[in-house]
């Protein structure tokens, strides 16, 4: 179970290799990598701000909920902070479970949470200056999907 913030660029392939190491019982690992979009030149950089300590703790609460809900064996979450160039990975989520459905769903759930509820603030830089990005209606709707599925 790892949750980490980093100012440095990371290699999602290396993280996946590391995450899969020594697992002979889990059966399924799912990952998601979010990459900064250039938006056809409209975004020249992203800047992610976190509240160190608080951000990791808040993510940890939700990740533990996901672990219980989906029966995960393990998870890893790495999130960039600071200035990020288009094409660079921003976020990496890996989940491990006995079967694929749980791994996929938990990964999807964690990303929906990270997009709209985790303590990050995102600024986009473009040719016309910078603007703070707030979650879109779709991001809230994505997260709300999981509230309906209470039978799981």
């Amino acid at each position: 179970m790892t949750i980490r913030l980093t100012f440095d660029a990371f290699d999602p392939g290396a993280l996946l290799t590391e995450f899969c190491k020594g697992r002979s019982e889990v059966g399924a690992v799912a990952t998601f990598t979010g990459i900064a979009r250039a938006e056809a030149g409209q975004t020249t950089a992203l800047e992610l701000e976190a509240y160190p300590g608080f951000t990791e703790a808040e993510i940890g609460k939700t990740a533990e909920r996901a672990k219980a809900r989906f029966g995960l064996d393990d998870f890893a979450i790495l999130h960039r902070v600071g200035k990020i160039a288009p094409g660079d990975p921003v976020v990496f989520v890996a989940t491990a479970a006995r079967h694929r459905r749980a791994a996929f769903e938990a990964c999807d759930f964690l990303m929906d949470y990270l997009k709209s509820k985790a303590p990050f603030w995102k600024k986009e830089y473009g040719p016309n200056g910078a603007r703070w990005v707030e979650p879109r209606a779709e991001d809230h709707a994505d997260l709300a999907r999981w509230e309906k599925e209470t039978t799981r």
Partner: protein, 79 residues
């Protein structure tokens, strides 16, 4: 003295990120900041802005002690 932290658009608006402010209550601290900078005061009271005291989200008013960390958190967006 409480240690006040602003995040995201709030720090851009205020022109500062961290400050020490003398105030016995969160409500009084809000008034003090709003008196100095009405635009900031309005933004702090705006929709979706949450407050954490020593990294715990609080609603409504609360007493502040020496060294309390008061963080104003605008709507969050990651990934």
């Amino acid at each position: 003295m409480a240690r006040v932290l602003l995040f995201g658009r709030l720090s851009d608006l205020a022109g500062w990120r961290e400050r020490q402010v003398e105030s016995p209550f969160l409500s009084a601290l809000r008034s003090k900041l709003a008196d100095e900078d009405p635009a900031l005061g309005q933004a702090l009271a705006g929709r979706g802005v949450q407050v954490a005291l020593d990294q715990v989200i609080v609603r409504g008013d609360a007493p502040l002690s020496v060294g309390t960390e008061v963080a104003f958190l605008p709507p969050m967006s990651g990934g």
